[in-house]
Amino acid sequence: MKLKELESHLSNVENFSNAKEYLEQYMTTPHLAARMIYTAQTQYEDIENNLLIDLGIGTGMLSIASCLLNADHVFGFDCDPDALKLCQSNIEEFELESNIDLIQADLRRIRLPIDLQRIKADTIIMNPPFGTKPFSIANEDQDEFCLGGIDMHFLQHARQIAQHSIYSLHKTSTRDHIYKKAKDWNMKMDVLAVLQFDIAKLEKKRPNRKTTTTANSAPLKAIEVDLIRFEIKDNMDS
């Protein structure tokens, strides 16, 4: 399938009708998703016949793109029941019910409910929250949750469950910090592209949403985002 064809198919993925700000929910655009997954396959062969995990599956955009490029199977995780419902509906629209399995889990927790003895995905795909919006947790819970750098936390999960490679998005401003972490975690890191994200604009991309900003939220500037591919160097890690 050609890139343009893939992007065209992905335009049928339905967006959030009531995105939750505190979860930083927004749809990964068909434009970005198509390029991310197409590159992963054509340049690195990380999609076709591979077992994938999508952390923070949201609308299902990345997973659907992957299945259209013949990924073997995808397990998608998300904490929000409304997102999962939307995702399920998108999966049905594309007739990918037997290719994508959904699990409701809180990825902000320290441990993922996956048995690492039993399964490791070949490739992890994700568009993680960047932590631009604060989220509140009860005091008793704080030991169980990561509090800062939520995208790094997602990356840490990904590192534990990836057999071969990880595709993720992170703020360009954190690039040096991520290079250090990648080194610590024994991963090769390649920045594949730099993009402009206008999250406020992305969140507003819904037909019934007014364009005026709400009283208590300052308009977000566009932020620079790196599309990064991580490759696991040491396959002996458990």
Binding site: N49, L51, D72, H73, F75, C79, L84, Q88, E97, S98, D101, L102, I103, Q104, A105, D106, R111, P113, I114, D115, Q117, R118, I119, K120, A138, E140, D141
Partner: protein, 118 residues
């Protein structure tokens, strides 16, 4: 049924037990290459245990050898079990703690319930 095979509730965790209230039978195109690949990744014993727990009318050998993994009949049975039985409603139960994780509309909910946090 593929999902339940990869999840677990606690750190050590033995395979989660499955209790199904509603199982849907779906029809999925058979792809032997996919089944062969996925066989390398799942824990066969746990899957076989789940099939027995659920009382599914499928017979699986106790152990699998190299030769049986190429046997068409076996692959077709694996295909049916992994892809054609959809657990729509039920629960996954951790044998270690007794914690139950509900399955609703085919999606297992691994979020801790309010009562378990304190």
């Amino acid at each position: 049924m593929l999902t339940s095979n990869i999840l677990k509730g606690v750190k050590k965790g033995f395979p989660l037990k499955i209790n199904a209230v509603k199982i849907e039978n779906v029809s999925v195109d058979y792809n032997p290459d996919f089944i062969t690949r996925i066989l390398q990744r799942i824990e066969y014993d746990a899957l076989r245990g789940a099939v027995i727990d659920l009382g599914l009318n499928e017979s699986l050998p106790e152990t699998i050898s190299e030769t049986i993994q190429q046997d068409e009949t076996f692959l077709k049975t694996m295909h049916k079990i992994l892809l054609e039985y959809e657990i729509e409603e039920g629960e996954l139960i951790c044998p270690e703690t007794g914690r139950k994780f509900p399955i609703s509309k085919g999606i297992p909910n691994m979020l801790l319930q309010e009562t378990e946090i304190s």
